[in-house]
Symmetry: C2
């Protein structure tokens, strides 16, 4: 009897373990075990790569996987800029987060570690141009980082390893699988794209001088926000958008992030346009009879030196209200007039999925050119476009059919749920958020900010002892991008 | 010791059961319990409706929910046609299936039962015009069914309840929540759309004479297949497509379903076109310099009396091969020549998501008009279109950026993964599937079909004793649509 029970216990224990494993995999729970067993999802070009034994970051790793020890110190290092494109819809944002693994950076570092291009994040001298939020995509995110190099001779950004006592460079063992022809650099784009998920692609790279920083050396950033005309007065929006150009205090057109040390809200917008996606659109603009097509797509494109947290989405929210004739274009001037309007009225920012960090400008970087990687990225993207475009036209075909049956076109803004028209409350009549001063007070009380008497009797505010991040507040603070 | 083991066994058994339940829920396994607790997902117009206690079909129900007994016999019944639109991408097909609850019909019957418009499926006199497969959508699916009516006077399709001994009609108790003004019919579309998921909409209804059948009285069916130009020779495809028009044996252009009693493959195609989605496309067709835009969308539209299983997708597969110049248009004539080519070469059908059952023609039905329901459906669809269109343009914007960086456009067909160009094997050189005769033999051996000596010495085949479905094979058999 006891023997039978023992057998039964053993059987059930195995069953419980097996079920737990299934549940973990189904829940996508990324424990180290699962990560190490992770298989790269099938890519569109049919390549799969799955190597056990990759750790994400030394911070979280409890188990060390079966990696062959790799002697990074015998390899040259090179400071480089990498240009990255990604579709942000399936991610919780660009920057690594504690409570989720589903970030672009997490995938990036997995790839950098798997390819042994870096030893770990902490020592990789990593800087990013900006952060994009959950649901936001990028065509031109730029990072700078130190990667393993194959160049044993001086080159831009190259740091050579120490020579051996005999005066030569260390041998690096059998050539790595991906080593390029002698004398040329490692094929960074190819190596990384092979192990990255399909919705994250490296498009270009550039050698960079040692002090070059993606964060501080970016000359300008360009965002795009795509939207359909619907019932919007797009011409009015285009006119209103020009009011953003120039240097203004944008505290009423962003989400203030005082807790992270963002204390001044003056930013410079270099250019703004709203234009049709198809420049040579069908329909003759000179024909007054041609009605505006509600299904026409437009781009709101904005170029600035640097942006505040959610700034572009707040700007877009205002433009959409103007386009729906719920606010006049003057509202922009009023909200930029922080003397008259020191506190931000409560309004929602525009949704995330149409936003793309489209360009980051780094003059002086010698981009090497994506070559074959661009063709592959293009081919994969074309298939994704095809699927999306077909679905869009299935919807559109049904809408045409409904129109033929007598359905009327909706008057509300198609990008937001529900209609705002009934019970619309003008922005300037709404309750306001806390003022900047009140927020500073709040953090001063908690010790995260400190007030000093500055020179000339003025007041200065800087990071306090209890601040989460200690850095010189005179530098552009952790500018969170949209 | 044994007591401890017994306790351990009990504990482990409970753990196994609990884990199994979690796995079932995670896997979306729709057992009756889960169905009964199902909450309608948040609809785009903000309405949610969740009533426990709905049973799907009496066949599977073990639990009966807490429904107030409803006396259907005291209500009039009405034979009606309902026109249904749905987006098929999230469903396992239109028709109810044993191993999944995620079908359009399942949702339909839930709604019909929840609104008490029918008592149960078996007694509802239900017929459907056709079946669409997993991933396939419809703008115009039509069903006929007997619904509860509020008309106590004779009307088209109305069956009055038996009168009470006093010679009057039975009282139907307190007016139902949804009862229409006295003397008018129940608001079928409104009642059902309120409880259906957002991706299934009733667009119209018509009273129907008692014998009217969605299945047998359909005069024609029209399908649409949306596709981008890419590198396809669309003009060649349009010319080739005309070869399908007329009455032909389509056994080589479908998936033969002999096991379900489909024994003859002659079908009539009334019309075929391939045309741009935007009829007034930008670009002057008379301008020989204007290059064909690979991102232009086209519609393959086909109208026929009735279709075989997967017929449209097989036709599209052939047209895509022709468009890629991998086959010549003559291949269509060759495959329709079943005397010369009695067996179908192995080839994959086109993917599912671009296909829409766009129209079903029922002359003589007096459609009542969708009214407000059409506006609601249109508004919801516009929001879905907006989201889809924005995503499409995010892809497109990046593709333009890649082109500007020097990427070349892919030459392969964008609707299928991978390139077929290398190692392409012409259809007529490929291995073939079983012939019709061989398949018939196969089922005759198993008793599901029987051969008889027909009149005049010919042979007739009909359903056998062991056939799954017993019906007269002279009738159009269970014609599975695409």
């Amino acid at each position: 009897m006891c023997d039978q029970l023992l057998q039964r216990v053993k059987y059930l224990e195995e069953a419980v373990e097996s079920l737990n494993n299934q549940l973990r995999m189904n829940n996508g729970c990324r424990e180290e075990d699962d990560v190490n067993k992770k298989t790269t999802p099938e890519t569109l070009d049919g390549q799969t790569e799955s190597k056990p034994g990759v750790t994400i970051s030394s911070k979280k790793t409890k188990k060390h996987s079966k990696q062959r020890p790799f002697d990074f110190s015998s390899h040259p290092r090179r400071h480089v800029a990498l240009r990255i494109a990604y579709l942000g819809w399936e991610y919780q944002g660009f920057a690594v987060q504690e409570n989720t693994d589903k970030t672009v950076e997490a995938r990036l570092f997995e790839a950098l570690l798997k390819t042994r291009l870096i030893q770990d994040r902490q020592t990789s001298n990593y800087q990013r141009c900006g952060r994009t939020d959950k649901g936001v995509s990028a065509f031109s995110q730029v990072i700078t980082i130190d990667l393993r190099s194959s160049l044993f001779s001086p080159g831009l950004g190259v740091t050579l390893p120490d020579k051996t006592p005999s005066g030569t460079y260390p041998k690096t063992g059998t050539p790595a699988k991906n080593s390029a022809p002698a004398g040329s650099e490692l094929e960074y784009l190819k190596m990384l794209n092979r192990v990255l998920p399909q919705d994250i692609r490296l498009l270009d790279w550039a050698p960079a001088a040692d002090g070059f920083s993606a964060r501080f050396d970016c000359q300008s950033r360009t965002y795009r926000y795509y939207f359909p005309r619907g019932a919007l007065d797009v011409e009015l929006m285009a006119e209103a958008a020009q009011r953003f150009v120039g240097t203004h205090d944008f505290r009423n057109v962003c989400k203030m992030d005082v807790g992270n040390g963002v204390l001044q809200f003056q930013r410079t917008i270099l250019a703004v346009t709203i234009r049709p996606f198809e420049e040579n659109a069908s329909g003759n603009p000179e024909d007054p009879q041609a009605p505006n097509d509600p299904y026409e797509l437009f781009i709101f494109e904005i170029k600035g030196l640097a942006f505040l947290y959610h700034q572009v989405r707040c700007m877009m929210a205002l433009l959409l209200l103007i386009g729906q004739k719920l606010e006049s274009p003057e509202i922009i001037n009023q909200l930029l007039d922080v003397a008259s309007n020191p506190r931000k009225p409560q309004y929602s920012m525009a949704v995330d999925f149409p936003l793309v960090l489209y360009g980051c400008d780094f003059p002086g970087l010698a981009w090497q050119g994506g070559g074959a990687e661009l063709h592959c990225a293009s081919a994969a993207l074309q298939q994704q476009w095809a699927r999306s475009a077909v679905e869009t036209h299935v919807y559109r075909g049904m809408l045409r059919g409904l129109e033929a049956m007598g359905a009327e076109s909706s008057k509300s803004c198609w990008l937001v749920e529900g209609s705002r028209m009934k019970n619309y409350k003008p922005l300037l009549e709404r309750p306001c958020c806390e003022s900047l001063e009140a927020r500073i007070d709040h953090f001063v009380k908690r010790g995260r900010l400190e007030r000093d008497d500055g020179e000339n009797g003025g007041e200065a505010v800087h990071r306090g002892k209890r601040s989460k991040h200690v850095h010189d507040s005179a530098q552009p603070s952790t500018t969170k991008l949209n």
